[in-house]
Structures are given as structure tokens and as C-alpha cells.
């Protein structure tokens, strides 16, 4: 579903601030796979996700999604197959618009936007059906402004918005990091359920080693712009958080300043 070849990106090329954020990354993610991405600050996690989303373009290499070479596709073009959730609960929705309006915008992601009314009975029916999967009662609040929802509710709603249209790939950029622990747990649980239900190929960046192992089917670790660990199947199943942290330290070869952050 996702294939990257020799992917590399260098920021501020040719200046004193030159930074090889990612180099020579090769990775193939098959359809339906849920990959968790870990790595210390500056390892290239966000750069990797931004490259997949089309927010930045690579200096070298190619990106293929669903068989198409999307390397030079801008964000709005990639959105036909790709949905995204941001860390900031305000980033993925329009606060001043109602729940149903946001849903209608997301539902039209993969189809042309015409001059017919956006909120049809079909959209309403679909919104109720999908939102009730969350069991948060949002389906009864279709005309409420999104600004009235909590961070957790917004992220849950963004999750539903991501499933609309013909989404094949979902990118999660620390989408629970800005939430309180209870809400984060709820959103994470819902993410697991929804992703599985719709069989969406998912890449999730996280800071939490526990989350990285608990969710998904494969874990990769980035360090200094390269993939230094790629585990799946039995190897991953038998891996404990402590072992992962050990590995993190060993592979990194540098001191980890904040264990709390990693073990959280």
C-alpha cells in the first residue's frame, strides 16, 4: 500500500544549518498493516509522516501509495487516498462549523465538490451511523458547533472523518499527545477499533513505547533519519516495553535524558 524508496530529505541544503532529516529510507507497508513509528526527538518521525502526507517534498527517492507514484503530489491530491490526524485537536476540524458540516466536508474528500447542497439525507444518515460507532453521543449533536466539544471528542470525530470517502491510508501524528490521560486512552482505543473495522493501512507516530507495542502490527524505530529497528510478528509480540527501551538505548548509543518520557 505504501512503498518508499531511497527516501531522503535535507533541510537548508548547502548552508551551515544543513540537516539531513531523513536519508536512504526504504520501507514497504502492506495493505491493512498498522505501523507504529518511534524515535527520539529529531529522529525524523514527523518528517517521515509529513513526506507521506505531502506537506514536504523529498530531496531524493520516491513515494508510492496504492501503486501510484505520489512523490510530487500536493497535499490536496494525496487526500483522495490518504487521511490525517494532527496532534492539535483544533487542527483537523473547523471549530466554528457544526459537526455535520465538518462531516460533510470530509465526506466530499474524494469526490468533486459541486453546487449541490452538501448536507443531504445520505450525509446525515452516514454521519449518524459512523458517529454512533464512537458511543459518545455525538450523533445526537449534529448541529452543535465543534468548538463546544472537548479535545477527546474532537479527535474521536476527526477519526470518523478520516474513515469517510475512500481512505486507504491513515497517518496519525501523536494524535493523543495533547489529550488528558483518560481521553487519550479512549481515543487510542477507538483508533484501534476503527482502523481494524475499516482495514485502513495506518502509520502512527508516538512518543509512548507502551502505545507503540500495544497497538498495531508492526513497529519501526527511526534514529538520525534512518530506520534502525523494524519488528513484527512473534518478535514484536514477545517484546516488552523494557526491552524496547533497552534496545532504544543500545541502538542509539547515546544517553537518553528522560526515561519518564519514553516509558510513559
Amino acid at each position: 500500500m505504501i512503498r518508499v524508496e531511497n527516501l531522503g530529505v535535507t533541510f537548508n541544503k548547502g548552508t551551515a544549518l544543513e540537516n539531513r532529516a531523513l536519508h536512504d529510507v526504504n520501507l514497504s507497508i502492506s495493505a491493512g498493516e498498522f505501523v507504529t513509528v518511534i524515535g527520539s526527538n529529531g529522529a525524523g518521525k514527523s518528517t517521515f509522516l509529513n513526506l507521506l502526507a505531502g506537506e514536504i517534498f523529498p530531496s531524493t527517492g520516491h513515494i508510492f501509495i496504492d501503486g501510484a507514484d505520489v512523490t510530487n503530489w500536493p497535499v490536496q491530491r494525496r487526500s483522495s487516498v490518504l487521511a490525517r490526524m494532527f496532534q492539535d485537536p483544533r487542527a483537523g476540524i473547523c471549530e466554528d462549523m457544526s459537526i455535520i458540516e465538518n462531516i460533510a466536508i470530509a465526506a466530499a474528500r474524494t469526490s468533486p465538490r459541486g453546487f449541490r447542497f452538501a448536507i443531504t439525507d445520505n450525509v446525515r444518515k452516514m454521519a449518524v451511523e459512523r458517529l454512533s460507532m464512537l458511543k459518545l453521543g455525538l450523533e445526537k449533536r449534529l448541529h452543535d458547533r465543534v468548538a463546544m466539544l472537548s479535545g477527546g471528542q474532537r479527535q474521536a470525530m476527526s477519526l470518523i472523518m478520516a474513515t469517510l470517502g475512500s481512505t486507504k491510508v491513515l497517518l496519525l501524528d501523536e494524535h493523543t499527545a495533547a489529550l488528558d490521560p483518560a481521553a487519550a486512552e479512549l481515543v487510542m482505543k477507538l483508533t484501534g477499533e476503527i482502523v481494524q473495522k475499516f482495514g485502513i493501512t495506518t502509520a502512527m507516530v508516538t512518543h509512548s513505547m507502551r502505545q507503540a507495542l500495544e497497538f498495531g502490527s508492526r513497529t519501526i524505530m527511526l534514529h538520525q533519519g534512518q530506520i534502525i529497528l523494524d519488528i513484527t510478528g512473534a518478535e514484536r509480540a514477545s517484546m516488552t516495553v523494557e526491552q524496547l527501551v533497552q534496545m532504544f538505548r543500545r541502538k542509539e548509543g547515546s544517553e537518553i535524558s528522560d526515561d519518564q518520557l519514553l516509558l510513559a
Binding site: G92, M97, E101, I105, A108, G114, F115, A118, R145
Partner: protein, 298 residues
């Protein structure tokens, strides 16, 4: 205030209500403060006047003025999207250029339209007193465009435009071409503004190259004042607020200038406008400052 002054305020308010609806699209929906209107308003007047004195029928001339106005919006959108010029500056550049363009169109600083058949003439023939003809026609035109905008903003394209203004990153992530929305929105807004200029010139009996000065402030006074008086989040209520804001602004202005007690004269109009806009901008700020603190300020 005399009846004459009231009628004058009403018809001017109605004529500028189209500019206010345009400013609602740019300023509120797209979050794009568009200063192009300072040039597209007289552009509409110039195009309509030139066509009318060249023998073109008043309705055709007015329609053409609206379409030419759209081009002014496209120019600003081009400067902003393709040349990456700051939105406010892009609008100023287009407006400045339009000053010369308008002089070219008219071949002189102004064109008189007195004794010409205008869009208001048929209404006068129908027996509507000439005094009221503009009000009747403008009311119909404003209501039609208000409803068209309400309907437009409820379509898939309209929702996309609202998203592009409210959260461009989210809009892009949902496949919306933000640049295209700005092009279309600015085109619509400046088309409305030019249409307003054409209708206003025919009411006034002349098109003048300097009639665009201060249009942006008047438009903002209507949008900000109207929505401050009638806060809502529903599009039809907000567009209604803009229309009423435009009329109320003119009435407030007429009241301020006609009350001898204050001692204001017509030359003080800009100061009064600035004060009215400042108050309208301040009211929502004050409200939110109070409401954010439970129990209000002690």
C-alpha cells in the same frame, strides 16, 4: 433627521449592502481582508457609465460592470497566490492600479448620467415615485443576492470555501484547493462590489474616479457592526446582519451629521465612521473579556 435624509441613508445603505455581502465573503468566510474594493467599486461605476453613454442598455451595462469586477478580484488572488504577496498588500496594489484603469475606461475623471435611462427608470415609469424607485429596486437586488450567497455557502463548494478560510490546513487535508477557493471568493466579492458601484453611480447620476475612497471602511463597518449587533453562527443570519449593518451604518451616520446639537458637518463623516467602526470592533472584544471570567469583572 428629515425624511429626505432618511431616504438617502436607506438607499445608500442598500446600495452598499452588496459591498458588505462581498466583504462578508472575503473578510469573514475566507479570512482575507480584501482592499481591492477601493478600486473595484469605482471600476463598476466606470464600466457601467462608459457603456451607458456609449448607448448600451442600462441593465446590460450594470451586468457587465459586475463581471468586470470579478476580474479585479482575480487579479488580487493572482498577486496573493502566485506571487505570494501579503493579502492586504495584494488588494492595495490592485486598487492602486485600478485608479489608472478607471481613468482609462472613462477617458476623464467622471461621467455624468443625469437624464440617462438608468436601471431605475422603468420603475419610475411604472408609477413608483422617482424618490422611491432606487429603494424598491435595490431591496429586490439585495435580497436576491443575499439568498444566492446563503444557498451557495450551503453547497459542497460553499462549505469547502468556508473550510478554506476557517482552517486552510484541514481544508487541504480534505482535498480542498485553498488557492482556488480564494480566487472564486475574491471574484464573487469584487463582482458584487462592482455591481454595487454601478447601481450607486446610476442613483447618484455620475461615475467618479474617486468614489472608491473609504469603501473598505464602510464595508467593514457594515460587516463588523452588523454582526456585533446580531451575533449568530448561522450563515443566513450573518448575511442578514451584514445587510442591516450597511443600512444602520448609514442611518447612524445621517443621525450624527443631522443633529445640530453635536455640531458635526458633512466634512466630519470620516471621523464619525472611524468612531463607529472602532466601537463595533470593541463591543465583541469587551463581551468576550467579560464572558471568559466567570462572574464578570469585579
Amino acid at each position: 433627521m428629515s425624511l429626505y435624509a432618511f431616504i438617502g441613508a436607506l438607499e445608500t445603505g442598500l446600495a452598499f449592502a452588496l459591498v458588505a455581502l462581498g466583504a462578508y465573503l472575503t473578510f469573514r468566510v475566507l479570512d482575507f481582508p480584501d482592499l481591492t474594493v477601493e478600486g473595484s467599486f469605482p471600476l463598476g461605476a466606470a464600466v457601467a457609465a462608459k457603456l451607458m453613454v456609449s448607448g448600451v442598455d442600462a441593465w446590460t451595462a450594470t451586468l457587465a460592470a459586475g463581471l468586470v469586477g470579478c476580474l479585479a478580484g482575480f487579479a488580487t488572488a493572482f498577486l496573493n497566490r502566485k506571487l505570494r504577496i501579503l493579502h492586504i498588500l495584494a488588494g492595495i496594489l490592485t486598487a492602486i492600479a485600478l485608479y489608472s484603469v478607471n481613468l482609462r475606461i472613462m477617458d476623464r475623471p467622471n461621467i455624468g448620467l443625469i437624464n440617462m435611462a438608468t436601471v431605475y427608470t422603468p420603475f419610475e415609469r411604472l408609477g413608483v415615485p422617482s424618490f422611491y424607485a432606487p429603494i424598491v429596486l435595490l431591496t429586490v437586488v439585495v435580497i436576491v443576492f443575499k439568498i444566492l450567497i446563503d444557498l451557495f455557502l450551503g453547497t459542497g463548494f460553499g462549505l469547502a470555501m468556508r473550510a478554506a478560510g476557517a482552517n486552510p490546513r484541514m481544508a487541504q487535508a480534505n482535498g480542498i484547493q485553498v488557492g482556488r477557493m480564494i480566487v472564486v471568493g475574491l471574484g464573487m466579492a469584487n463582482g458584487l462590489t462592482a455591481l454595487s458601484g454601478a447601481l450607486f453611480a446610476q442613483m447618484l447620476g455620475a461615475a467618479d474616479v474617486s468614489m472608491g475612497i473609504g469603501v473598505i471602511v464602510v464595508a467593514l463597518a457594515a460587516v463588523i457592526g452588523g454582526t456585533a449587533l446580531m451575533p449568530s453562527r448561522l450563515v443566513p443570519m450573518l448575511t442578514l446582519a451584514c445587510v442591516l449593518g450597511s443600512i444602520l451604518y448609514r442611518i447612524a451616520l445621517a443621525l450624527a451629521l443631522s443633529s445640530d446639537a453635536i455640531g458635526l458637518t458633512a466634512s466630519d463623516v470620516n471621523v464619525v465612521t472611524a468612531v463607529l467602526v472602532a466601537i463595533a470592533l470593541w463591543v465583541p472584544v469587551r463581551k468576550s473579556t467579560f464572558s471568559r471570567r466567570p462572574g464578570g469583572l469585579k
